[in-house]
Amino acid sequence: MTVLLIGFGKAVFIWALALTCIPVLIWFERKGAAFIQDRVGPNRASILGIRLAGFIHNFSDVVKLLTKEMMVPAHTNRWYFTFAPFVGFTVILFAFAVIPWADNLRFGGWDIPMQVSSLNGGILFILAITSLEVYGMIIAGWSSNNKFSLLGALRSSAQMISYEIPLALSLIGVFMVFGTAQLGEIARSQGDLLFGFLPKWGIFLQPLGFVVFLTAAFAETNRNPFDIPEGESEIVAGYHTEYSGIRFALFYMGEYVAIVLASAMVTTLFFGGWQVPYLPTERLTVNADTVLMVMLLVGAALSLVSAVLFIGYDKKLRGKWPKGDLRNQEGRILTVFAVGALVAHAAALVYFGSIDLPEWGSATVALLAQIGAFVLKLLFFCWLFIWVRWTLPRFRYDQLMRLSWKSLIPLAFANIFITGLILLLVGRAGS
């Protein structure tokens, strides 16, 4: 019974993480695009005066999408039309079942792996789920009774299945180097040091594999520069042209969840996953009090800096809006929150400085540090996706296909060959 509850809790955690990243990503996308394009980006929506630099736009978007008229095109099968966005959004969430977000939680007699399912073929599971993702597009495009949609769906699914091959092939190099397909093990074995000073991350062991994987991941999620199937100037909106309201919202969110999944995979396979660099789990657990102090100090410093910045912001906002407008108060409200956070951190510092951490306390501190490392790396790669989108122009469809079949697949094979050669010459320690 406890096992079931723990598993359920883990599933809820990782799904909550994936779904919380969606509004963050949407905000990143808009503000990041604006930053790269040298403009301001959306900053108007506000709740009770708080604008949070455009974050509130997520909520206004949700309201807009929920209240839009949901049209179904004529002469189509209504069931397929309604069914497609659900497939597009739900299937991709299943893949988070094998992503590890921390090392095993060990205290007392417990040894809980921090992934929902420690499947031995973890990577293959994610590949299987991404290959099911194609159905959402195909059914959406076909059931829209619209030639643009059908063409977009066919192009998109052809692109996805073409890029699944270099994706899988680049993973073979990873299998060979780490000797296992279980994602938790792969993340754990990236904790040692290579040549004495480099962390043994996948990117140092498999640089070519990383490049191939990243490119294929961009194409799998239909992101620029591979977004011919949904580029506005190309094909209206491809397979989700006819969708409006909450159905479009499901496709939109499904795309962002795919980005989070791709970032999670890149982090786990090539950047050490939850590993804090130079601090393997044992060192974290042994020095848990120091780690906790450091984390609280960093939090306190951040709160102090934000409080100072918000005070400056408040001065800038003074009198910007007519009297009585709530938006004038934003600087003050944010300052109050920042000062509150500072006080909380200081109190925690005083409290934890005076007591001794119990065993489960050190395990939890290590867990939090690793989750923090994982989330930071995840957000960095999500930002990378957005950065590349607004930097590169998109590929033409035949260039895209040529890149996959004629460049990435030979590169992936070359990677396998070189990896095999090096492993034969150097020998893999331990097996």
């Binding site: 499947l119 031995n120 073929g121 599971f125 195909i138 059914i139 076909w142 066919l154």
Partner: protein, 164 residues
């Protein structure tokens, strides 16, 4: 608990297969087949055949069925072009009943053989075991299947090529 899960998955699988053979619209049949295959894959996972579960979803439901659905969509047959060749309800029922009875009888006979049951190792079905088997005891079939796939691909390219 396991029994409940087994019966649910088996029911989904059989329902999917039944839907597939009774639908007029080929796309509905294909999608029903995908559902049936997914349930079958889950049954494989229940039997600890992990690798087969992954490959069933990855290859069958994810690649082969996608291509079949492509073909169905591109052919885009209208209902008039899909001619019906009904089997007749009585004949259909007799066939189904005979199959079920025959199958149950076959399983009964199999279970009574002394060598019918063998215990598998605890690591049965995971990637390392299947990979080791494929590259040691079953190496020749493995390589021959690769050649077979190559022949199929070359054949498809030749068939689909336009005569210059």
């Amino acid at each position: 608990m396991e029994l409940v899960i087994f019966y649910t998955l088996a029911a989904v699988s059989v329902a999917g297969a039944l839907l597939m053979v009774t639908r007029k619209n080929p796309l509905a049949g294909a999608l029903a087949l995908v559902v049936s295959m997914a349930a079958l894959a889950a049954l494989f996972a229940m039997l600890h055949a992990e690798f087969v579960f992954l490959l069933q979803v990855l290859l069958y439901a994810g690649a082969i069925m996608v291509l079949i659905i492509f073909t169905i969509m591109l052919l885009n047959l209208s209902p008039q072009e899909l001619k019906e060749r009904p089997v007749g309800k009585l004949k259909g029922l007799v066939i189904i009943a005979a199959t079920v009875v025959g199958f149950i009888g076959f399983i009964r006979v199999l279970l009574q053989l002394p060598e019918g049951v063998r215990f598998v190792s605890p690591t049965f079905g995971n990637i390392e075991e299947v990979g080791a088997l494929m590259l040691t005891s079953y190496l020749f079939p493995f390589e021959v299947i690769s050649v077979l796939l190559l022949v199929a691909i070359v054949g498809v390219v030749i068939l689909a090529k336009k005569v210059i």
